[in-house]
């Protein structure tokens, strides 16, 4: 989510509540007879408030599972998730009186810190990655469809080359390809001088157009690719320049899809840390509360 003017109220409210909590903590720390601690009544109140906010932040995930329930707009929930989640940090710090505690508490600290940091990292990425994707990936498609699109691109490329170079002689995982709607390649008689094009296609371009290509493939770099295409162009007669240009376009599409995959990975990868650790925090936090109250 982009942090814009619509977040100002939340930001101001968070800052104000942090200030109030800080002042109250300063007063409590200075005046409490045995000094501040998690077991004191004010300390427990900070703990309860902090835990409550974390719990609310965690409910965002549950809220997303029932999108049709009219429980408030999803963007309000996300704003609450971000700002109240941030507010929980000082409250938990005040709850612990800035102490590490025992082993369980130390683990809790690390987990909590990783959750907050991964969340802030994700938030930071969301400020510019969507914009970057819009700018750099003009051929963006639905992420899950990328393997299918790659297959389709490769099918089209096969057809372009087979028309001028004759049968490609490449093995197809045909059943799979047929299922995915791949058309049968129509081959014709090879044109004179088309050998280098076929060779270049089968050795370099075709493997690159696969849904799983090597990241070190020379065609993965636009600069290298341009140089390679120029080299091949010199070897080809004029009528074969057009199919070569078409292949260059297919490679550009494939590079864009690869970039989309990478950006998508960054945009969502942090959730792989954020969400599982939030579950761990929930379990450990409950254990901490039970143990603290028991003993």
């Amino acid at each position: 989510v982009i942090i814009d003017r619509s977040h100002w109220r939340w930001m101001i409210a968070t800052l104000a509540l942090t200030a109030i909590a800080s002042i109250s903590y300063a007063v409590y720390a200075a005046r409490w007879p045995d000094g501040p601690g998690g077991g004191t009544i004010p300390g427990m109140i900070y703990g309860l408030l902090g835990s409550g906010l974390m719990l609310f932040a965690g409910l965002l995930s549950a809220r997303k599972r029932v999108p049709t329930w009219r429980l408030g707009r999803a963007q309000t929930w996300l704003k609450g998730h971000i700002w109240l989640g941030i507010l929980s940090v000082p409250l938990i710090l005040f709850h612990s009186s800035f102490r590490w505690g025992g082993r369980l508490e130390q683990v809790l600290w690390w987990v909590f810190a990783l959750i907050v940091l991964s969340g802030l990292f994700g938030l930071a990425l969301q400020q510019f990655l969507p914009r970057l994707m819009l700018k750099l990936v003009s051929m963006e498609t639905i992420y899950e469809q990328i393997p299918h699109v790659c297959l389709a691109i490769r099918g089209s490329a096969d057809e372009v080359v087979a028309v001028v170079c004759g049968p490609l002689g490449v093995e197809e995982p045909s059943a799979d390809a047929e299922e995915k709607g791949k058309k049968k390649t129509k081959a014709s008689q090879p044109m004179e001088g088309s050998g280098p094009l076929k060779d270049f296609y089968v050795r370099q371009v075709r493997p690159f157009l696969d849904s799983n290509y090597s990241v070190t493939a020379p065609l993965a770099s636009a600069t290298h690719a341009s140089a390679m295409f120029e080299q091949v162009r010199i070897m080809l007669p004029q009528p074969l320049h057009q199919p070569l240009d078409q292949l260059a376009v297919f490679c550009e599409e494939r590079r864009q899809l690869a970039l989309q995959s990478r950006l998508h990975g960054w945009l969502h990868g942090w959730l792989m840390i954020h969400i599982p650790l939030s579950c761990v925090l929930g379990v450990l936090g409950t254990a901490h509360a039970v143990l603290a109250l028991w003993y």
Binding site: V1, I2, S6, L60, K64, V66, P67, T68, W69, R70, L71, R73, A74, Q75, W77, L78, Q126, L129, P130, R131, M133, L134, S138, T141, I142, Y143, Q145, H264, L267, H268
Partner: protein
């Protein structure tokens, strides 16, 4: 073929030409009572001519439309806030939609129309059905079953063209139509519903049945208005000339009419009407039209109202078209769109919450895909745009897709789920929803539906019924689910011309 009296006049040489490439261009088929001859929604390329026996023709799809609503079982939430949505089939009686047109007759690809309340009819010797499927490859509009042991000729297009050119056969088909179908056809039009039998008898020999090939102009803008046309078969495009090109005003199918505006105003044609495919129309000339409106002031008043409504709709579209904007705006169909779902790609994290929400609100079947064309920083998603040029309406074999006054597309209850509209939509914005229903075992007795066979309570076999669906903007909810569920404030529903007005010249 010469042995069949109806085709006796066709020279043997002509038949030989038809059978030059295939001797199965026409086949004689015999069906036992109860056997299905063709099913609604199936694609085909043949027409049938009944030689002997009778056939029942009916719609087996439930006469109902898809509706998303909160499930009764889940409606008791905290203060009514927690609601689970389900999509089911409801009839017009259960859910009267805004501007719902209660049609009494459902147009099908046969010489007869089916009654809305009891969509079953019967054809007999000499009747021809499946002409639209044969000539224009539209899906079958109804299911046909042998009512008794019968014999039919199933023919390909080349044969159908030959037999329809034969004078005696053509005369017979026309006579059949005049005698059996003209009355229901005229009365299926709301404006003509009150015409008495006596006047229809007067019209019967006087109306002309005309045929047009695809692309042929039926009447031209600016010509003198000399007749009213009622569409019998095929689709007619109504368009107006403008400096920037032709503006499509409407697509008309069986049961709809045109030409009344010029006749009532006593002037000239205000639009050009062109056959989109093989079209057959019933022509009522000006003299008979004048007699009708003089004798039946009620008909005149209704036609007047309809003419005014059409004129207002035309004005609205013309005004919109006058603001010819950016090329890309036009290319992407945004000029046509009334309401689109835009996704701000600078805010969107591609989380697909909008798609999930749409699916959740519509029984698990999403009506939007987060894919489509881009305009500026926005993705114009694959969700119904309520186009002013609704190509989706061309080819519906039962005319069940139409527009409201607001230009919003609506699927009528008698949709047979043939998927034609979904294939026609240039933006892929119509989805087909499968519904599990009790096995379709409608029973017809004496041409009357006596049972709608809801026998699923005892666990009997279930059947799947298809219905076309389009974005309903989550009607009944304050906000569309896709917009409500977007956590990033990236999904917005807008009128594109207003929204992008700052960017347009």
């Amino acid at each position: 073929m010469a042995a069949y009296g109806d085709f006796a006049e066709i020279p043997a040489k002509q038949w030989e030409r038809q059978f030059e490439f295939t001797d199965r261009a026409v086949v004689r088929r015999r069906f036992r009572a109860g056997e299905i001859i063709c099913r609604e929604g199936d694609y085909g390329s043949t027409a049938f001519y009944v030689v002997r026996g009778k056939v029942d023709i009916f719609l087996s799809s439930p006469i109902a439309h898809a509706k998303s609503r909160k499930s009764d079982a889940q409606s008791r939430g905290i203060f009514g806030l927690i609601r689970r949505f389900a999509t089911g089939l409801v009839s017009a009686n259960q859910d009267q939609r805004e501007e719902e047109q209660r049609r009494h007759w459902i147009p099908i690809d046969a010489p007869i129309d089916l009654a809305y309340d009891n969509p079953v009819g019967q054809l007999g010797p000499g009747d021809l059905f499946g002409e639209m499927t044969c000539m224009s490859f539209y899906p079958r509009s109804a299911t046909v079953r042998a009512a008794e042991d019968c014999e039919l000729l199933e023919m390909l297009r080349n044969v159908l063209e030959v037999v329809k050119k034969a004078k005696s056969f053509k005369a017979k088909i026309e006579a059949n139509y005049r005698q059996r179908a003209l009355a229901t056809h005229l009365r299926s039009v709301r404006e003509f519903a009150e015409l008495p039998d006596e006047f229809i008898d007067y019209l019967r020999p006087r109306v002309e049945l005309l045929t047009y090939e695809p692309g042929a102009a039926i009447c031209n803008q600016g010509d003198a208005a000399d007749s009213l046309y009622l569409v019998r078969i095929g689709f007619v495009q109504v368009s107006q000339r403008h400096p920037g090109g032709d503006l499509v005003l409407a697509y008309l199918s069986r049961g709809q009419y045109f030409g009344e505006m010029g006749l009532i105003a006593g002037g000239v044609r205000t639009a050009t009407c062109r056959a989109l495919d093989h079209v057959e129309v019933v022509r009522i000339n000006k003299e008979d039209f004048d007699v009708m409106v003089q004798r039946f002031p009620g008909v005149r008043a209704k036609l007047q109202v309809e003419a005014e409504r059409r004129a207002a709709a035309t004005r609205l579209q013309t005004e919109t078209a006058a603001q010819i904007p950016l090329d890309r705006f036009l290319e992407q169909g945004l000029m046509n769109a009334q309401n689109v779902l835009l996704i701000d790609l600078e805010k969107c994290t591609r989380c697909d919450e909008c798609v999930h929400a749409c699916g959740a609100a519509h029984g698990g079947i999403t009506r939007l895909l987060r894919d489509g064309l881009r305009y500026d920083k926005f993705l114009v998603t694959t969700s119904c745009r309520q186009c002013t040029d609704p190509l989706c309406m061309i080819g519906c074999p039962v005319g069940s897709i139409r527009r409201r006054e607001s230009l919003e597309v609506i699927i009528e209850d008698w949709c047979i789920g043939c998927e034609k509209c979904a294939k026609q939509c240039p933006y892929g914005n119509i989805t087909i929803h499968n519904f599990d229903v009790a096995e379709l075992s409608r029973v017809y007795e004496g041409q009357k539906v006596i049972e709608l066979a809801d026998t699923a309570q005892d666990g009997s076999k279930r059947a799947v019924v298809k219905k076309a669906t389009t974005c309903d903007l989550c009607s009944g909810l304050a906000e569309p689910s896709c917009v409500y569920a977007c956590p990033h404030d990236a999904a917005i529903r807008v009128h594109p011309q207003e929204f992008f007005s700052g960017q347009l010249p």
